[in-house]
Symmetry: C2
């Protein structure tokens, strides 16, 4: 007989997929054991084995979100520096249906994450790591003269992440006002503005 481990992994994948479907359709506000069980055609009792409490269910949901995000297809960075910064930000934006679904869940996760100190710390770490990756490429862009060197790379990375996250929120609520081509234009205009050397003030 094959070991039970295979069954366990398969079951875990089923659970993850069901969690994902509940989140994509109805958000974290609708994420309950009952909803996940219904989505799987399983009993709520079975699921209490996996999720002894609500926090365990939420943590799994955030892990699934992490896994799906980490495994998403990404644009190949065309080069180092500014072009890579641009590519990383394009990979965040809801430019197609999959990216929109993923973003809808990320945005939805902020409510539950902010309500729980542990989950909030984990989310904070995710965003900190993402800013640090951006800052590396910003620093390269500064060394290459593609971005002005008079601002800390960490500040430019934080600004870039802010811009992208806020654009995600706007686009999720008003997809008709923010079609993919407008999102890309807004990003590119912002990068162009950033890249221009600041004129000396004559204060």
């Amino acid at each position: 007989m094959p070991p039970a481990r295979g069954d366990h992994s398969a079951r875990r994948r089923d659970v993850s997929a069901a969690v994902w479907r509940v989140l994509a359709e109805r958000g974290f506000g609708a994420l309950t054991l009952r909803a996940v069980a219904a989505e799987m055609g399983a009993s709520t009792g079975l699921l209490t084995h996996y999720f002894p409490n609500k926090q365990a269910l939420l943590r799994t949901a955030l892990e699934v979100l992490d896994e799906v995000s980490a495994g998403r297809p990404r644009r190949t960075p065309p080069a180092e520096g500014l072009a890579t910064v641009r590519t990383m930000l394009l990979d965040v934006l809801p430019l197609d249906a999959d990216a929109t679904a993923r973003n809808r869940i990320w945005v939805g996760s902020w409510d539950v994450a902010l309500a729980d100190p542990e989950l909030a710390a984990e989310h904070a770490e995710r965003y900190r790591a993402s800013r640090a990756r951006l800052a590396e490429h910003v620093a390269t862009a500064q060394r290459r003269g593609e971005l002005p060197a008079d601002r800390p790379a960490a500040d430019l990375a934080a600004a870039a992440q802010s811009f992208a996250l806020g654009l995600v929120v706007q686009a999720l609520f008003a997809p008709e006002e923010f079609p993919p081509e407008r999102q890309v234009r807004l990003l590119d205009d912002w990068l162009i503005a950033l890249a221009v050397d600041r004129a000396p003030t004559d204060g």
Copy 2:
């Protein structure tokens, strides 16, 4: 005898205050009739009179958020144009405890709003109106030569709103990394970058 209306208004204020406290402490994920009733020391039965279903509770929560936001103390716009754009964005950022609590609830509201087409449309309209107000002042700034006129005012307003909303999210998760003075610096650096005329591209 005074009409019951006075009682009704007072009760409504109590309900609103209780909804606000639940949201500020535990977010939309914890917003239930039971939680609001407990916060008021009232019975769940009483509250079903106000909230026949979950959507009614959520709608009231979003209305309370709107009212509190509309009634918040605002910085006096120091002038027209770019200075007003800056002031409007400063009024959004979590620069003090009240603004942080308000933003935490706004960010939390996105999950439930995105899950319900009617609530999503209402939220979309709130952000659209806010972009339109920003765009007016951006257009004034363009006429005054404070911002380059080669980009649509609507684009600059959308970019500004994106930047501010994303900065809110970052600051809520990492308040130590984003103290008020850094938020203001990031905003000012962004406005400076925006204000610089773009160098003509040389093909």
